[in-house]
Amino acid sequence: MYKSGGSTALKRLMTEYRELSLNAPEGITAGPISEDNYFEWEAVIAGPSDTPFEGGVFTATLSFPKDYPLNPPVMKFTSPMFHPNVYPNGTVCISILHPPGDDPNHYESSSERWSPVQSVEKILLSVLSMIAEPNDESGANVDASKMWREDRDQYNKVVEGIVAKSLGL
């Protein structure tokens, strides 16, 4: 009946994994890399249709803090990514992944940020919509941001290259 700090996180991650594996949203798969460690997940995201990312399959890791769900996980793409809201090292920068009270970019309203009632599923859905509609105000990858804003054709071309790479072509 009682739950302590650490096992709250573990139990919640198990529940989320079970729910995700039983009914995952379209284009998303996610789960722990190893059953021994529920705090490191791998996610596979299919590039949303009607975007230059269509057809690509992107992998990412999710690292959960021990006090999850009080604080959000860190999401990092492990396959090559070129996107205004993804740092060149692969770390995803979207508001839902930012803990409450912490606003490194001073542009988000707190309503968009992480709250313990959010879930892995919501994060991945947000990432899907982020891929489809970049937010060039935050600009984690300055080159991608600039290209997306000023030279969309070039951006689409680079993204096509990324998609091909993600498929191992």
Binding site: K3, S4, G5, E19, P100, G101, V117
Partner: protein
């Protein structure tokens, strides 16, 4: 994994029973996704969470985790109805799940088989029953619901259907269910009790005829206290999963209050922790985190209908700290921890000693 096996979640319910899934989900805290433990509602927005969950969130940010409306701990009140709803649901959960998921063997056969089986039965009973026969099994959909839109069923009265269903139920009572049939169904018993028109006392429906005979003939004037007790013993509701503690919990430690940590020096904070009776090890950051958690645990325990003793609470604090991977004990190298270390790694030590001895021997022989 052991924990995984005991994991209950809303997906346990068959997909046909969406409303049960939703009910299961709604009786869970949106933060920890488990059944509410001391449900607390926010006075302004009405969102409900476990006491400890919401207090942990509020010590990070003073906003409702669901709608982000401003919220402080003073604006929470216990939502006891949610607690009791959850308890009732949980006490019947397994029974309901078993009933819904256990399908009689013949349900797995295809529809032709149902009729074949009915057909044989029909031949046996034809002479006894004069009313038009309808295959009752084909009326039942796979999920066990009766489909009244089946052709040829229009002129059947409700009592007919009731009788048919009764037939079916008695036909397919699983043999393994001996336990449940012997066990008096408490809720049913309570619902089935009726008031005797003569002596105005509650009597179970099945007993009423016999009781009336006796009552009217004057044989049994009024049930004795003993017989009443017996009757209520069978009608007692199922034991809830979490029985109320009969022993009052012991509260030995003083009530903690939130502190302005930035204004406190490390030594002062350490003294406060000692006064509160909780471990005072580690650096300021660790002590601060421990104090916050302790205040939350203490307050959540005070909210609870079934508070635990502070000894139990201290154990939980230690478990919480361990789970976070913080080992405050590390800094404190007492003889105790050295002993622990020696016992914990006794095997490794023995192995190393053996290795060293073997090395020495091989060197000597060279």
């Amino acid at each position: 994994m052991l924990i995984e096996e005991t994991l209950e979640d809303p997906t346990d319910w068959p997909q046909d029973y969406v409303h049960l899934r939703h009910l299961d989900q709604q009786l869970r805290c949106p933060i920890c996704k488990e059944y509410f433990v001391t449900a607390m509602a926010a006075t302004e927005c009405g969102h409900t969470f476990c006491s400890l969950c919401v207090r942990r969130c509020l010590s990070q940010e003073s906003k409702c985790p669901s709608c982000r409306a401003p919220l402080t701990e003073g604006e929470l009140f216990p939502n006891r109805l949610v607690d009791s709803l959850m308890r009732t649901f949980r006490s019947g959960r397994q029974q309901l799940l078993d009933t819904l998921t256990a399908k009689p063997e013949h349900m797995n056969l295809n529809s032709d088989d149902y009729c074949k089986r009915c057909h044989t039965k029909k031949e046996n009973n034809d002479e006894q029953r004069k009313r038009p026969r309808v295959c009752t099994r084909s009326m039942r959909k796979a999920d066990g619901k009766v489909d009244l839109t089946m052709p040829g069923v229009e002129n059947i009265t409700a009592s007919d259907i009731e009788e048919m269903l009764k037939d079916e139920d008695s036909d397919f009572e699983p043999a393994s269910n001996g336990n449940t049939t012997q066990k008096p169904n408490s809720l049913l018993a309570a619902a089935n009790s009726v008031t005797c028109p003569n002596c105005k006392l509650p009597v179970t429906q099945s007993q009423i005829n016999r009781h009336l005979d006796q009552c009217l003939s004057g044989k049994s004037t009024k049930p004795t206290v003993e017989s009443m007790k017996k009757q209520f013993a069978t009608a007692k509701p199922n034991k809830p999963i979490f029985m109320l503690n009969s022993q009052p919990a012991k509260f030995t430690l003083p009530r903690p209050t939130k502190l302005a940590y930035s204004l406190l020096s490390e030594s002062k904070l350490r003294r406060t922790l000692k006064e509160l009776g909780i471990p005072a090890k580690g650096d300021k950051q660790q002590m601060q985190a421990r104090h916050i958690e302790w205040v939350n645990m203490y307050m959540a325990n005070a909210d609870s209908e079934i508070p635990v003793s502070h000894k139990v609470l201290l154990k939980r604090l230690a478990a919480w700290e361990e789970a976070l991977g913080r080992q405050a004990d590390k800094l404190d190298s007492t003889a105790d921890s050295q002993e622990d270390h020696a016992t914990k790694y006794a095997d490794s030590f023995a192995e190393l000693v053996a290795q060293a001895q073997a090395n020495r021997k091989s060197l000597q022989s060279q």
